[in-house]
C-alpha cells in the first residue's frame, strides 16, 4: 500500500488518492490509534469530499489514506458490487488512484470497502475490510449526552445496553436487534459494528484480517484488529443467534435460488410473477459458487 | 464491699429547660435522689406540675438531665449512668431492658395492634412466630378482645388503645419499667388487670417507677413513695 503521491498530477487536479498528504497523515494516525485501542472510537477531522456525507465518506477516507498503486480494490454495497453507492465510490477511486486495479473477487482484493455486509469468504491476514458507518456510538440509543457516553465507554459501563436487550426480551421474548448489534471488543469497548446483519457479527471474532470502521459525518474511526475477541452482548442464558433461514414449510434451511448455497446470507425478494425468491446477498460469492458448480459439472 | 445493689439509683438529679424564644429558663427538678430495687414499685408523689413525669423522662433519656447521676444496673451486672451514656447505648437498653408507658400510644397509623406489640419483641430478639404468639398473649392479658388484634389501634377507643400500649411495654419483660399514669383512661376492670400485670412483673424481679393519678392505685401497688417538690421558675 505504498503511495506515490506528489508525482502524478491527475486529471481532477489532485494528488494520488484525492486527499492531501496532511489529511492522510492524520487519518493514518487515527487508524493506528484505533488499532492500538480495539473498539475505541477515535476522533479525526473528517474532510470535504466530492461525495456527500452519509454516503460512505468515513469508509472512503480510510480507504484513500491506505490505498497505494499496487493495491487491488473491491467495493461492495449490501453485498453487491453493482449497486449505486458502490459504483460511484469505485469511479472516484479509479479516477483518483491511478494504478489501482479493481476486482469483484473477494480473495483477489487487498482492500475491500463495504457497506452493510461482510463477504462470505473468510478474509486473510493480508486483507483489510473497511466498513462505512452511519452511527458509530452504540450508546446513542440509551444516552443522549455525548460526554456522559464517553465516560460510560471509558468505564465499560454498558448496563443500559443490557437493559435494552432485557426490554426486548420482556416484550418479544427474544433479542430484537436485527442489525448494528452491540458487540464487545477485546473485553472492554462495545462497538456499533455498522448495519451488518447479525449473521456477520461472528465473522468479527478472532478474524485473520483487520476490520476498520469509518464514520464520516460523526468523525470517528474504530477497529477490530486481527485475532481480537468480538462478543455480541447477550445474557448468559439467552444465546446470541444469527438470522434463521429455515423454511417453516420444509423445516430445512433455504438455499440460494441462483447458486444453491445453503450457507450464505440470503436476500428475499419477489420475481415478476410475485413468487418469493431467496438469493445470496454477496453477489460475488454467488457468481463464484455458480461458476464453481459449472466447472465441477 | 458494696451491699445489695439497686436496679436504679438516682442521685442529685436536676433538670431545667431553656426556652430561647422567650429568653428564660424553667427549673423542673433539683437535687432529687431515690432508689428502686428489683421487684419493687416506687410511686412518685407531688402536686400537678411538680415534675413527676420529668423524672421518668430523664431516666428514659427523652430529657437530658442537667446534673446528677442515674445509675442503672444492667442485666449483665454492669452499672451505666443513664444521664451520661451515649445515645447508641441508650437505644440498645431501650430495646432490651427498659420500658416506658405514657398515657398515649405512639405507633404508625396503619399497623395492627398485634404488629404494634410484636415489632418491639422482634427487635429485642424474639423470632417472628414467637413474637406473634407472645404479642397475642400480652394483648389477651390486658383484656383486648381478639377480634381487634388485626385492626390498627388508631380506630380504637382511648381505653383499648391504652391497653395496647401497656401490652407492648410489658410483653418484652423489661428490667426497669417507667409508668406515667398508665391506668388513667381505663375502666375499673381493666385497671385491676393492669394491677395484676404489675404484680406479675414485680414477682419476676422488675423494678418499677410509676406516677399514678389516683391514691387508690398507690395504695394498691406501691411499695414506697418518693415526693417530688414543685420548684419556682427562675428568670
Amino acid at each position: 500500500m505504498r503511495q506515490r503521491s506528489a508525482d502524478a498530477l491527475l486529471p481532477l487536479g489532485h494528488g494520488f488518492g484525492y486527499l492531501d498528504e496532511d489529511a492522510k497523515r492524520e487519518l493514518r494516525r487515527a487508524i493506528f490509534k484505533a488499532v492500538c485501542v480495539p473498539g475505541h472510537q477515535t476522533p479525526y477531522g473528517s474532510r470535504e469530499l466530492p461525495i456527500a456525507r452519509g454516503f460512505g465518506t468515513g469508509g472512503l477516507q480510510i480507504t484513500l489514506a491506505l490505498i497505494g498503486p499496487e493495491d487491488v480494490l473491491k467495493v461492495i454495497d449490501q453485498g453487491s458490487d453493482d449497486s449505486v453507492n458502490a459504483a460511484n465510490l469505485r469511479r472516484l477511486f479509479l479516477a483518483t488512484c491511478p494504478g489501482v486495479r479493481e476486482t469483484r473477487r473477494t480473495q483477489e482484493a487487498s482492500l475491500i470497502q463495504t457497506r452493510h455486509r461482510i463477504p462470505e469468504r473468510p478474509l486473510r491476514a493480508d486483507q483489510i475490510l473497511i466498513l462505512q458507518v452511519p452511527y458509530p456510538d452504540p450508546l446513542v440509543v440509551v444516552e443522549p449526552n455525548e460526554s456522559k457516553r464517553r465516560l460510560m465507554h471509558g468505564r465499560a459501563d454498558y448496563a443500559k445496553l443490557w437493559v435494552k436487550l432485557y426490554e426486548g426480551m420482556v416484550t418479544f421474548s427474544e433479542i430484537t436487534i436485527s442489525h448494528r448489534y452491540p458487540t464487545r471488543i477485546a473485553g472492554h469497548y462495545v462497538i456499533d459494528p455498522s448495519p451488518i446483519p447479525r449473521f456477520d457479527v461472528p465473522k468479527l471474532h478472532r478474524a485473520d484480517c483487520l476490520y476498520l470502521f469509518g464514520a464520516g459525518r460523526e468523525k470517528r474511526i474504530y477497529a477490530v484488529p486481527p485475532h481480537t475477541t468480538a462478543e455480541p452482548l447477550t445474557f448468559e442464558d439467552v444465546p446470541f443467534r444469527v438470522e434463521d433461514f429455515t423454511d417453516p414449510a420444509t423445516g430445512r434451511r433455504r438455499a440460494c435460488s441462483r447458486c444453491g448455497s445453503t450457507t450464505s446470507f440470503l436476500d428475499e425478494f419477489f420475481d415478476e410473477t410475485g413468487a418469493r425468491l431467496f438469493q445470496c446477498s454477496d453477489t460475488a460469492f454467488c457468481d463464484e459458487e455458480l461458476a464453481g458448480r459449472g466447472a465441477a459439472a | 464491699m458494696s451491699g445489695p445493689r439497686h436496679v436504679l439509683e438516682v442521685e442529685g438529679l436536676s433538670k431545667s429547660f431553656t426556652i430561647h424564644a422567650r429568653g428564660r429558663r424553667v427549673l423542673a427538678l433539683e437535687g432529687l435522689s431515690f432508689t428502686v430495687q428489683a421487684g419493687e414499685l416506687v410511686a412518685l408523689l407531688g402536686p400537678s406540675g411538680a415534675g413527676k413525669s420529668s423524672v421518668l423522662k430523664c431516666i428514659w433519656r427523652a430529657y437530658r438531665p442537667d446534673a446528677g447521676t442515674i445509675r442503672y444496673q444492667t442485666a449483665e451486672g454492669s452499672v451505666v449512668d443513664l444521664a451520661r451514656a451515649n445515645d447508641s447505648d441508650i437505644v440498645h437498653l431501650r430495646t432490651r431492658e427498659l420500658g416506658f408507658v405514657t398515657q398515649f400510644l405512639h405507633a404508625l397509623p396503619r399497623l395492627s395492634a398485634l404488629e404494634v406489640v410484636a415489632r418491639p419483641l422482634r427487635r429485642a430478639g424474639w423470632a417472628p412466630e414467637e413474637a406473634r404468639d407472645r404479642a397475642a398473649l400480652a394483648l389477651a392479658a390486658v383484656g383486648l378482645p381478639s377480634r381487634l388484634f388485626d385492626l390498627p389501634p388508631s380506630t380504637f377507643s382511648g381505653g383499648e388503645r391504652q391497653r395496647v400500649n401497656l401490652a407492648r411495654a410489658f410483653a418484652v419483660e423489661p428490667r426497669l419499667l417507667l409508668l406515667d399514669e398508665p391506668t388513667a383512661s381505663l375502666d375499673p376492670a381493666s385497671r385491676d388487670r393492669v394491677f395484676g400485670m404489675i404484680d406479675d412483673a414485680r414477682r419476676r424481679g422488675a423494678a418499677i417507677l410509676a406516677v399514678f393519678h389516683d391514691a387508690e392505685a398507690i395504695r394498691r401497688v406501691a411499695d414506697r413513695t418518693v415526693t417530688v417538690h414543685a420548684l419556682v421558675e427562675v428568670a
Binding site: 468505564r155 459501563d157 448496563a159 443500559k160 443490557w162 437493559v163 432485557y166 426490554e167 426480551m169 420482556v170 416484550t171 445474557f235 448468559e236 442464558d237 439467552v238 | 429547660f17 431553656t18 426556652i19 430561647h20 424564644a21 423522662k57 428514659w60 433519656r61 427523652a62 430529657y63 437530658r64 445515645d87 447508641s88 441508650i90 437505644v91 440498645h92 405512639h106 404508625l108 397509623p109 396503619r110 399497623l111 415489632r119 422482634r122 427487635r123
Partner: protein, 276 residues
C-alpha cells in the same frame, strides 16, 4: 452494635472559597454565603457515626445542607474536605479516596439511594423490572432468568403488584414509583440506604404506607439508613437518633424523642414548636 459509617468533618463549598468562608457563615451567622468571596458553604464540619442496622434521621429546612450530605455520600457531588469511612467486615474503606471506578463499584454494591423525585432514581420509560435489572447488571450479573426472578422478588417485597413489573413507572402513582425506587435501591442488597425526602409530596396515607415499608425492610434486612427529611413525623416514626441541620451545620444531635421533647438548640426549639 458496631459502626458502619463514620463521617468526619465533612464540608462542601460551592465557589472558589476563601480563608474566611468558614468564619463568616454557619448557624451563628444566619447565612451560608461568604460575604467576602460569595462562595456558598453548603455543608461544614459534619461529623457523625451510623451504626449497623440503625436508622439515623437528618432533619432541617431547605438549604440546611441535608441533601448535600446525601449527594456527597453517594458521590453525586465532590466533598471539599473531610472523610467518610465505611466499615466492611475485614477493612475500612475511605470513601473519598476511592478512584472513579471503585466509587462506581461501591455505589453499585454497597449503597442504595432513594430520591424525592423518582426521575432521579428511575428511568420512567423503562419497565419497573428493567430499572431493577439495570442495577443488577451494573453489578455484573447478566443471566436473564436471574434478572427476572430477582426483579419479581424485589417488587413483591416492596409491595408493587408483580403483574405490573413490565410496565414503565411513568404509568404508576407517586407512591408506587417510590416503591420501585426502593426495590431498585435494594437490588444488590446494599448495607446502607440513603433516603432523601422519600415521602415528600405524597398523600398522607401513601406516606404512612411508605414509612411502614421502610421500617419493615429495616427490620427484615437489618440495613442501615440515613433518612433525610424536613418532616418531624418521618423521623419520629423511623429514626432512633436524629441530627438537626441548619445553614450547613449539624446544630444538634440526639435520640429522636429527646430532640422532639427536649430540644436544646434555639433552632430545634423553633422547628419543633412550629410543627406542633
Amino acid at each position: 452494635m458496631s459502626v458502619l459509617l463514620e463521617v468526619e468533618d465533612l464540608a462542601r463549598i460551592h465557589g472558589r472559597g476563601c480563608d474566611r468562608c468558614l468564619e463568616v457563615t454557619g448557624p451563628e451567622h444566619g447565612t451560608n454565603r461568604c460575604r467576602f468571596c460569595g462562595s456558598v458553604v453548603a455543608l461544614r464540619g459534619a461529623s457523625f457515626a451510623l451504626e449497623r442496622g440503625e436508622v439515623l434521621g437528618v432533619i432541617g429546612e431547605s438549604g440546611s445542607g441535608k441533601s448535600t450530605l446525601v449527594r456527597l455520600l453517594c458521590f453525586d457531588e465532590p466533598a471539599s474536605s473531610g472523610r467518610a469511612l465505611f466499615h466492611e467486615a475485614d477493612r475500612v474503606v475511605d470513601l473519598f479516596a476511592l478512584d472513579a471506578a471503585r466509587r462506581r463499584a461501591f455505589r453499585d454494591t454497597r449503597l442504595g439511594v432513594v430520591y424525592q423525585n423518582p426521575m432521579l432514581g428511575l428511568a420512567l420509560s423503562i419497565s419497573a423490572g428493567g430499572n431493577i435489572a439495570e442495577r443488577l447488571i451494573a453489578a455484573e450479573r447478566v443471566r436473564y432468568a436471574f434478572l427476572r426472578e430477582r426483579a419479581r422478588a424485589l417488587l413483591e417485597r416492596t409491595g408493587v403488584p408483580v403483574a405490573r413489573m413490565d410496565e414503565p413507572p411513568a404509568r404508576f402513582s407517586g407512591g408506587m414509583q417510590q416503591r420501585v425506587q426502593i426495590a431498585k435501591a435494594l437490588a444488590t442488597e446494599p448495607p446502607l440506604l440513603l433516603l432523601d425526602e422519600i415521602t415528600t409530596g405524597l398523600d398522607l396515607s401513601v406516606q404512612a404506607r411508605i414509612l411502614d415499608l421502610v421500617l419493615e425492610l429495616q427490620e427484615q434486612l437489618a440495613v442501615s439508613m440515613l433518612v433525610v427529611t424536613h418532616d418531624l413525623g418521618v423521623v419520629r416514626h423511623l429514626a432512633s437518633r436524629t441530627l438537626v441541620m441548619r445553614h450547613g451545620a449539624i446544630v444538634e444531635a440526639g435520640l429522636t424523642d429527646q430532640i422532639l421533647e427536649d430540644p436544646s438548640h434555639p433552632y430545634t426549639q423553633e422547628l419543633v414548636s412550629a410543627a406542633l
